[in-house]
């Protein structure tokens, strides 16, 4: 690919749907998702990698969408929080667990937590509390004090090991 000034086309699959968009090289993935594709479930906070609210999956891995350029993910598969619930609005079991265990209060941080945990459990279904805590440590929540989030994830992890099929998106 040669270098050209100005905008360029990118093609990404987001939550199973192929999207074609035209972006400036400086457009981050979070911005592509939010402002061009209208997927505002992915939040932005710090925009330097620290808070984790912008976490999405790129080809199955949890990454910060604020630290990824849209042009870098040309050809990739993205999963955002909008891709978790079923088409009819039925919550994903992970979302149910957060609801049941009060894993959220204001909810600002929740999309990031859900995606980071989704990536962990789908990659390592047997992840123990230590591994879960490590992933949670990369996400900031200013409301819950984390204990209820940990309980939500422990509940979801136990469930996931029993019924994987309902889980994987």
């Amino acid at each position: 690919m040669s270098s050209t000034n100005g905008t360029r086309p990118v093609r990404v699959t987001v939550n199973g749907t192929v999207h074609e968009a035209t972006v400036e090289p400086r457009t981050t993935l979070s911005e592509l998702l939010r402002s061009q594709l209208g997927l505002t479930g992915t939040h932005v906070g710090c925009e330097h990698g620290v808070c984790g609210v912008c976490t999405v999956l790129i080809d199955g891995k949890a990454v910060r969408s604020c630290l990824t350029l849209a042009v870098q993910v040309d050809g990739s598969e993205i999963l955002t929080v909008e891709g978790l619930a079923a088409a009819d609005g039925t919550l994903h079991p992970l979302q149910e667990a957060f609801s049941a265990e009060h894993g959220l209060q204001c909810g600002f941080c929740t999309p990031g937590f859900l995606m980071a945990v989704y990536a962990l459990l789908t990659e390592k279904p047997d992840a123990g509390e230590d591994e879960i805590r490590e992933v949670l440590g990369g996400q900031l929540c200013r409301c819950t004090g984390y204990q209820s989030i940990l309980r939500s994830v422990m509940r979801a992890a136990a469930q996931f090991r029993e019924s994987k099929l309902e889980w994987v998106r």
Partner: protein
Amino acid sequence: MEWATVKPAAFDYAAPTSLAEALTLLGDPDRDATVLAGGQSLLPMLNMRLARPELVVDIGRIPNLAGIEEREGALVFGAMTTKAAVESSALVLRQQPLLHAATKLVGHPQIRSRGTVGGSMAQADPAAEYPAVAVATGGWMRAVGADGERTIPAADFFVTCLTTGLAPGELLVEVGIPALSAGTGWSFTELSRRHGDFAMAGVAVTVRLDRAGCFEESRIVVFGVGDIPTRMSAAEELLRGERPEPSLYRRAADAVRDAFDAPMSDIHASAEYRLHLAGVLAERGIADAVARAHPGEEGPNR
């Protein structure tokens, strides 16, 4: 729905699909070009406009720049190997447990999924774990530029805070980390405010004990205190030939504190506190490394 909330200043972008193409782009003296690897340090700098390159050269689409292999007693990492790949490598865990332990302390899994081995070396953050591992293990960097390639020992690679020996237009392509030889004890200790933060201070230690159980050779590298990871020659010298015991570790810790003229001081930790930590961590780190060492064991790498 469309609105724009761009953070970085505008730049041009290229994603070369060969090393040669990348070197041509980076070698153009008329353009201020910056390499983009995992972006986990560069993107924050772009978003904050601390970096305003004209051209960003994304090396993520060049084939064969990622991967881990064993070569002549060393583990060789393609520059684009992610830290997630290092962390899950059985080869690394077996042959270079110090690197494995250090990897777990680099940011969070969500950062290690994209951050690369080469990126951490090229970034040369004084508080970063990977440069310290490279210096402590006697590692090396292989760089390629318009004039060919060269291998730079880690001890010469880190020049000062955020500055390496890479020449303009040169690309780091490989990082070599010698495997830990049988019997060598090691430790990697750091203190940060929260797990996953950059360290306020840290110490990497390797030790070899002779048949009598005395120190034969040791390497003590402190990071997060000086402008680059620094070997503590006076402390290493003090240990040589001696029998391991706590009072000796305390004297070594004093030598570590004495080794710094101008420790870093910033909002995260004062110079005094960093020095204090360096001593405490060195004392603990030496004891931990000794506990893992097998006296008198020689021979091939494990």
